[in-house]
Amino acid sequence: MVRVTSFLLRRLAQSVVIVLLASLIVFCLLRTGPGNPARMIAGGMATEETVEKIATEMGLRSPMLVQYFIYLKKVVLHGDFGTSFVRPKSGASAVAGGRADDPTRAERARVIDLILDRLPLTLQLAMMAMAIALSVSIPIGLFAGLHAGRWPDAAALMLSSVLVSMPNFWLAGILVLVVSIQLHWLPAVGYRDVTYSILPAIVLAIEIIPVLVRSLALSLGAMMSQNFVRIGLIRGLHPSQVIYHHAMKGASVPLLNMLGVQLSALLGGVLVVEYIFDYPGLGALTIEAVLQRDFPLIQAIAMLTSAIFVVINILVDLLAGLIDPRLEY
């Protein structure tokens, strides 16, 4: 187990560096990009001095690296991601503009609460999408891969091409029209219970399915033509042993890698789909935060997503290494 421990230590060290770098880049970009959060808080009517005063209070006038280290220190030592620039504690978004008499910072919502509030919804959506995608693409991909070059393979390729050419906003529109408005089977927008996750999850899943089907069909097809699989029957193994113990095992590593990539891509897809369905998850929160220049919130979301990416990657490599011990840890 030296190998696994050493792998985990090395990868965790690497990921800390990656997450820190990513957060530093976001931090700097935010502060050099357009949009002045102090102005947004102070409101369009406030004087230049008021804006400047707010900015100094918010720490926006110190050198950038100093700002970053202060921020990082709070995060690391106290798990404190700061408070939202704009959101009051109640949770509802404070409409920008308005009061120049700035409410004390303590009354604003803590970033961590905002995120923890939304994260479960998004995770639920992502898991559901993944579950749908897997339960559709695994049978199809296996069937296609076991009959590489014959009609099931061709049919799977055709299905994938059709799915891949459907843009998600268009698909979402059609689904809402048919399933919600005409058939009244599922609710469409907002969120009240689990059923609200189903339609957006389907839209997300349909984006991934073609990729997974192709990946599985190709890698299984390639496995089936490997000598150690073909010679299995000659060695005296049962056909099911050959397929389940050897061919599928070999095909699962590329599939796993693809899953990792797709899971990461899913987090991006969530952004659009949540927006379309007005689904109150992390994606929607991100879009609002960007529109409102809510630096602490954007910053924390960026850190969280990069951490999720990194963890997914480590898990994928760890699992792949357990399946195929030849892989270099």
């Binding site: 010679i231 029957l233 000659i234 060695r235 005296g236 193994l237 113990h245 399946i323 011990p325 030849r326």
Partner: protein, 604 residues
């Protein structure tokens, strides 16, 4: 005794259908193998012998089909058998071992577990632990060292010879009645191949299995088969016993086949002695090269592979030096160093007295024209979409400025010189034979009029007739142009025919470097003797396998033991050998040998 016949093949025909047309692959094949008999099938590549092996077990490619005749295994018709009948026989009663053992096993599962899985598939009554114990037991029988440990390792950790042994265990473990061995020694080094032959001899004597031994090499079959057939273009051309075939081949084809088999000792070979005052063109002094690889077992560590561990030799102008050794001996790394694709970590290589390491890039570029490399693979090394003329003239474009017409004359002259039809100048190399391709490679190297040619296994892809022609060509070139050759090869018989001096490499060092006559008639180093004893010839070797063939394989270049690196296999190892690196002795007859036994008067 008809009841004793295990496998009967009767008028078997197989055809390939390519693009709607059908081509005969096997025609009218008949033979019978009795129980406990070892039966040989000899044929060169393309004779249909591998197709025959697969036809016997119902494993033909989809493009091939049986057109007639019958294969019966203990009364079961193998041609018409359905999937269930085949399953009851393949792997259970008939075991099959092919030429490429590295692809037999799932690369992600330890070998022992896979063989145990097979045993339990064919003998469900065997328990899990029992199966694994049986595997370990058989590993010991086929002399896999540290059997229990090796059973737990992945296939990638096995060398070619070891994995072939494991594949043999896999094929036999169900208690098979017939073992089909299709070209099993083909990918192996000579000493390892000889060990596998020895293993088959043991199996033949000790296990109640009939063996069908298929090979392209009569010397391989000679030592084990009771009877054999010769296959040519899908037909049986001769039936005989190994001894009778070797002594009195009846058909013209068999006679040619026998004539092809290289001779080492029984043929006179004259090698023009190198003039004593010839200048040294290439000098290699104590050259070393290590490669670092990441160590999987520690967090940040790396380990070093010692590929070349202090090699020295001089090459005189106009001589032919051979460097022989088995896989992993460092000859490929040495070649990379000599062609400065790679730089040594220590030591120096000088050309015409000038140190390569101190040369400017420009000088080295010019030098490249004087030292040319001809590679092993006649197919991969020739661009398919260039005309032959363009391929050969390319080095001239790079290295010489001359008029197009001059260049063309130079290229066609060279083509004639190496025996290529100048009419090929504007043709593409498609459809050319291996021999013609190798001539293109040679012409490409020769247009620059090099002083030295490095030949890396250049002749090993060619058959004997073509080899003979090319060797004659090399000799002509040498006397006409005074070219110096450096042959890098594993093929002792080829080296015997062309080289004036031969260096034997083992694990990154030269263990013996002597004249041709000395090497083949009075070798000093035990490893040289082992190589000679393993050489596949029909002659009575002066170095009998029982006395000189070594067991085991070289230690890993990662963990080279102290003392002599051959000590773990050497039949004559002394206690001192495991502590002290043997010094290099200069022999009175000329040449060097690195062994504790040499130098003193201990004649062996």
């Amino acid at each position: 005794m008809p009841s004793d016949i295990l496998l009967g093949v009767d008028n078997l025909g197989v055809a390939a259908s390519i693009g709607g047309r059908s081509k005969v692959v096997l025609d009218n094949i008949s033979f019978a193998v009795s129980r406990r008999e070892t039966f040989g099938i000899i044929g060169r590549s393309g004779s249909g012998k591998s197709v025959l092996a697969k036809a016997l077990i119902g494993w033909l490619d989809p493009a091939l089909s049986v057109t007639g005749g019958a294969v019966s295994f203990d009364g079961v018709d193998m041609v018409g058998a359905d999937a269930a009948q085949l399953r009851a026989i393949r792997g259970r009663r008939i075991g099959y071992v092919g030429a490429d053992p590295t692809t037999v096993f799932d690369p992600t599962i330890p070998i022992g577990r896979q063989i145990a899985e097979k045993l339990r598939a064919v003998r469900p009554e065997v328990g899990h632990k029992e199966a694994l114990d049986r595997v370990v037991e058989l590993f010991e029988t086929v002399r896999i060292p540290d059997a229990r440990l090796r059973a737990g390792e992945l296939p990638s950790k096995f060398s070619g010879g070891m994995i072939q042994r494991a594949a043999i265990v896999d094929a036999m473990i169900g208690g098979t009645e017939l073992l089909i061995a299709d070209n099993v020694t083909q990918p192996l080094d000579v000493t390892v191949a000889a060990q596998i032959i020895r293993l088959f001899q043991m199996l033949r004597n000790e296990v109640n299995t009939a063996i069908l031994f298929i090979s392209s090499s009569l010397p391989m079959v000679k030592n084990i088969a009771d009877r054999l057939v010769v296959l040519e273009e899908g037909r049986v051309v001769e039936r005989s016993t190994p001894e009778r075939l070797a002594a009195h081949p009846e058909t013209a084809y068999s006679q040619a086949l026998i004539a092809q088999i290289p001779r080492i000792w029984s043929r006179e070979m004259a090698h023009p002695a190198v003039k004593a005052d010839a200048a040294t063109v290439l000098s290699v002094q104590d050259v070393k090269r290590n490669y670092r690889v990441r160590n999987q077992r520690s967090l940040f560590g790396s380990v070093s592979i010692q590929a070349v561990r202090g090699v020295s030799f001089d090459v005189k102008s106009g001589e032919s030096l051979g460097i022989v050794g088995e896989s992993g001996c460092g000859k490929s790394t040495l070649l990379r160093l000599l062609t400065w694709l790679d730089m040594p970590d220590a030591g120096r290589i000088s050309f015409d007295g000038v140190d390569l390491g101190k040369m400017s890039r420009n000088d080295r570029f010019h030098l490249r024209a004087r030292l040319q490399l001809v590679l092993q693979d006649p197919y991969g090394s020739i661009p398919a979409h260039w005309t032959v003329g363009r391929i050969i003239s390319e080095p001239l474009r790079l290295h010489r400025s001359m008029l197009a017409s001059e260049r063309r004359t130079r290229v066609t002259d060279t083509m004639v010189e190496v025996g290529l039809d100048p009419g090929l100048y504007s043709k593409l190399p498609v459809g050319l034979s291996a021999g013609q391709r190798q001539r293109i490679n040679l012409a490409r190297a020769l247009v620059l009029e090099p002083a030295i040619l490095l030949l890396d296994e250049t002749l090993s892809a060619l058959d004997q007739t073509e080899q003979t022609r090319l060797i004659a060509l090399f000799e002509r070139l040498q006397s006409a142009r005074g070219i110096t050759y450096l042959f890098i090869s594993h093929d002792l018989a080829m080296v015997r025919r062309v080289c004036s001096r031969v260096a034997v490499m083992y694990l990154g060092k030269i263990v013996e470097l002597v004249s041709n006559e000395m090497l083949f008639f009075a070798p000093q180093h035990p490893y040289t003797k082992a190589l000679l004893s393993a050489a596949p010839t029909l002659e009575e070797s002066p170095y009998a396998r029982d006395d000189y063939l070594v067991e085991g394989e070289p230690p890993s270049p990662l963990l080279i033991p102290a003392g002599c690196s051959f000590a773990n296999r050497c039949p004559q190892a002394l206690p001192v050998c495991r502590q002290q690196e043997p010094p290099v002795h200069h022999l009175p007859q000329g040449g060097i040998v690195a062994c504790h036994l040499a130098g003193e008067d201990r004649v062996t």
